[in-house]
Each structure stands twice: as C-alpha cells, then as structure tokens.
C-alpha cells in the first residue's frame, strides 16, 4: 500500500534527517515508528504525504509514485491519508465542527468551501466522526476551550472525516499525560481494528510502543535499525535504538530493560 525506497532527507545546509530508508506498509497494519527525539520519525511521516519534500528516493501509494505526482495528484493522495500531530494543530478560534469539517476540504467544491459552506452529507459525517471519538455534543464549542486530550480527539475526528485509508500519527501522545496517552492510543487501535484503517504512529516511549504495536520500526539518526514484530524486539535492538553516548538517561534506561 505504502512503499518507501531509499528515502533520504537533508535539511539545509547538511543535516541528514533520513538516510536511505526502505519501508513497506500493507493495508490494515498498525505500525509504530520508534525512536528518540531527533531520530527522523516526524520527517519520515511528513515525507509520506510530502508535507516535507524528500531530497532523494521514492514514495509509492498503491503503486503510484507520490514523489513524482502533480499538485492535483498529490491532493488526491493526501485526502486519503489522515494525519494527527503532537500539538493537535487545531484552528483554536474555530468551533469543533469547523475543525472536523476541514477534513472534507480535499473533497469539497473549491468555490463553495471558500465561503465556508459544506454539504449536508459532510456535516453529518463530521458529527458522526465526533461521536466516534466520544465527543458528541461538543460540535459548537470553540476548539481552545477543550482540554488537551479532547483536542487530540477532535484532531482524530478531523482525520476520520477524510474517510482515509491510512492515518499518520506524529507523536500523538507526547503532549499528554499517561492516562490520556492510553485513551488516545486505544482510540487509534480501535480505528485500526474496526475500520480497517492502516495506522503509522511515531512514538518515543518504549512502553507505549510495546503495549500497542504489532510491528515496530526502530529509527535512529535517520536509519532503520529494526523492522519486525514486537515479540522479536530484543534488548540489543532496543539498545541500538535508544542507547549510546548522546544521553546518559537513555543509556541507563535501555540497560534496565536489557537485564
């Protein structure tokens, strides 16, 4: 479904964020991209829908080369890929419903949507998506009156409103406390199972990854160091992803896990 070949990203002048990454994700998978901050997780996710323009390599979506497609083609790919973010990225002054309706923009008539008008079907779908994340009745609230966990659920509803086949989640729980982390990860897991939507989630927390993932892709300094099931993820692989000279905390953590 998604295939990444030799994907490389260099941020000017010379920061190598992704170094020849190869990855294949099939329909219905639940993949966690694991790595420390700065490992290239966010860059990898953003290269998939070209929010970040790759420096080299190719990304394929159903066999079509995303990295070579036109602006119109890219729009069509993007609307099938939902995305949620660490900082939720809602329009704070807008209502919850308006935020969720933004998920329909890829399908909406250009002129009509510029006047802020959406079809009845779109509005009903948006309300249904809010219900699915447990926020029925929140639609008229202003987004910035919601708590962090609620805002992230609105963001998930926005992604669902796209009727996506894949959802990319970039550190969706990094701004949330452990209890809310669980809530959000549970919702993502449920979406994956019930709606058969592929999920690619980046995470820096090992425990969360171990609890939820089926497949883990370990990233370090822009390179894939591990790609396999959770059960096969051994201490050496964890050490390779987390350990090393840069942070003593990480090192001691991985040792504890190892012994």
């Amino acid at each position: 479904m998604i295939e990444v070949r030799d994907l490389t990203k260099i941020y000017p002048p010379d920061k190598l964020a992704l170094d020849q990454v190869n990855l294949k994700v099939g329909a219905g998978e639940f993949v966690i991209i694991l790595g420390r901050s700065g490992a290239g997780k966010s860059t990898l996710l953003r290269c998939l829908n070209r929010l970040v323009e790759p420096s080299g390599g190719e990304v394929f979506w159903d066999g079509m080369e995303v990295t070579a497609t036109s602006r119109e083609g890219l729009r069509k790919v993007r609307r099938e890929i939902g995305m949620i973010f660490q900082q939720f990225n809602l329009v704070k002054r807008a209502t919850v419903l308006e935020n969720v309706l933004a998920g329909r923009l890829g399908y909406a008539g250009a002129l009509k949507s510029l006047f802020g008008r959406f079809s009845v079907e779109d509005e009903l779908l948006a309300l249904e998506c809010l219900e699915q994340v447990g926020l029925a009745g929140f639609s008229e609230r202003r987004a910035d009156t919601l708590s962090g966990g609620e805002q992230q659920r609105v963001a998930i509803a926005r992604a669902l409103a796209q009727r996506p086949r894949v959802i990319l989640a970039d550190e969706p729980t990094a701004s949330l406390d452990p209890r809310l982390t669980q809530t959000i990860m549970d919702i993502l897991k449920r979406i994956n199972k019930e709606k058969d939507i592929t999920l690619i989630v980046s995470q820096h927390q090992l425990e969360v990854a171990m609890e939820y993932a089926e497949r883990i892709v370990g990233l370090r300094s822009g390179r894939v160091l591990y790609d396999g099931s959770v059960s096969d993820l051994g201490p050496e692989a964890i050490e390779a992803i987390y350990g090393g000279e840069e942070g003593r905390d990480d090192q001691s953590n991985s040792r504890t896990v190892g012994h």
């Binding site: 929010l51 790919v77 329009v91 704070k92 933004a102 923009l105 510029l114």
Partner: protein, 270 residues
C-alpha cells in the same frame, strides 16, 4: 590551588581592564553625542526665555477663546461629521485593499520575489504622511472630501498592509500544516488555516486606524481636503477665537467618543 588563584587573579585583572576600556568607549561616544544634541537645541532656537515671554500671549489667546461661540455649532457638527465620514470611508476601503497586500508581503505566504517587491513598495509609500498625500490629491482631483478620502486610503493601506503581514507571519504554523495534509488547495489553506487565526487581529487594527484617522482627518481641511479642519483654519485666520474654540470642543468630544467605543470593541475582539 596556587595555580588556580594565579589564574583567577589574572582573570580579575582582565575584567578590570575590560571595564576601564568600556568606560573610555562610553565617554568617547557620549560626549560627542551630547555636543551634537546641544547643537540641535541651538539650531532649533529652543529657549526657555522666549517661552516665558510668550506665556502672556498664550494666556490672552485662551482668554479670547472663552466663552465659546455656540452660534457656529451647526457648522461645527457638520464639519465634524464630514471628518468622521472621511475617516470611515477611507479606513474601510484601505482595510480591503490592504488584505491582498498583507498576504503578498508576508514572508511565510508569498514567494520571495513577490514578498520583496510588495514590501518595498509598501515601505516606500508609507514613508509619506496622509497630509502630503492630501496636498497631492487636492491638486489632482480638486477641493472637497474626496481628496481627503483618497489621502486616508493611500496612507492607511500601506500601514494596515504592514500590520496585516506581521500578524500573518506570527501565526501558528500547526493548523496550516494540518489543513494542507487533508488535501486542501492553497486557497483553502488560506481560508481555513490562516484567516481564522488573523481575522480578529485585522479587525482590531482596523478599529485602531479608524481612531487615528479621525484625528488625522481633522487637519485635512487645512489643505482643502474636506472636513472640520476648514472651519478651524478659517476661524483662526479671521481671529474669531470663540468660534474656533466651539469647533475644537466638538472635535474633542467626537474623538473621545470614537476612541471610547472602538477601544471597548477591540477589547472584546482579542
């Protein structure tokens, strides 16, 4: 231990030397600057003695202004209302014209070439004040409120475009990224990701410029560009001070009323 104390004292000595040098630089710069400032005072003929000598004249001036002559109240109100109209029409048209210019001169929206071209043009036209534009437009389209409106539009467009562009550059890029990711077009990203973030600020800037423009528009009449300024100038020239003071009172009342209303509105917006 000893080597450490030696090192420390060497550092202290360096610090003291640095301090002395800094003091020297301070005098080297500040004494010529003070001299320059003194020369400016001399050239502009600033003189407390002359100010004191002028005090009785000022008192006389004020004395002749009271009591205000309210028989000219009607023309005062008419003039003040025209000033208000000039400011409202000029500011709103400018607010609309400034919209595209603001986006085109925002670093994070416009492409670099357009950004530099538009921003330079805006800076160029903003360096000229409303009053100078009024003189130009009176020469071009003749006397009356219309050249005043044109002058207000020209200056206000440039300043609002600058304020708009700064607001746009300060937005949270997160929602823009999220909307882009949904497959929205660039216009849709503008409409749903950027405008909701900046619109309340834009309205607040508009109201603030309206306050300023009402004050600016009062003197447009001095050069024949409409409004209450014409009456102020006429009565002062005719040395009809009671009439002039009546007009000034009306003016103060109007400016205060508009400031009050607009600042309350602005507070509710943000």
């Amino acid at each position: 231990m000893t080597s450490r104390t030696v090192e420390q004292s060497a550092i202290d000595r360096l610090k003291i030397a640095q301090k002395r040098r800094n003091r020297l630089y301070f005098y080297l710069v500040s004494i010529p600057l003070l001299a320059l400032y003194g020369w400016f005072l001399w050239e502009t003929e600033v003189s407390l003695f002359r100010l004191r000598r002028g005090l009785p004249w000022m008192a006389d001036f004020l004395y002749r202004m009271v009591p205000p002559d309210f028989s000219v109240l009607q023309s005062a109100l008419r003039g003040a209302f025209e000033t208000f109209q000039i400011a409202v029409v000029g500011t709103t048209i400018a607010a609309l014209l400034a919209l595209p210019l603001g986006f085109l001169s925002a670093r994070n929206v416009a492409s670099p070439n357009i950004f530099y071209a538009v921003r330079s043009a805006i800076n160029f036209f903003r360096s000229i004040d409303t009053m100078v534009y009024a003189l130009l437009f009176v020469a071009a389209v003749g006397l009356g409120p219309f050249p005043g409106v044109l002058a207000v539009i020209t200056y206000t467009t440039t300043i609002l475009a600058k304020l708009y562009s700064e607001a746009i550059e300060d937005i949270d890029p997160g929602p823009v990224e999220a909307i882009t990711a949904t497959g929205a077009t660039r216009l849709q990203v503008l409409r749903f990701g950027i405008i909701p973030q900046v619109l309340p600020l834009f309205v607040s800037y508009l109201l603030y410029r309206l306050e300023t423009n009402i004050r600016a528009a009062t003197i447009l009449g001095f050069v024949g560009a409409g409004g209450v300024g014409f009456y102020i100038q006429t009565y002062l020239r005719m040395m009809n001070y009671p009439a002039a003071s009546c007009i000034l009172l009306v003016l103060v009342a109007m400016v205060m009323a508009v400031d009050f209303g607009s600042s309350r509105l602005r507070k509710r917006l943000i």
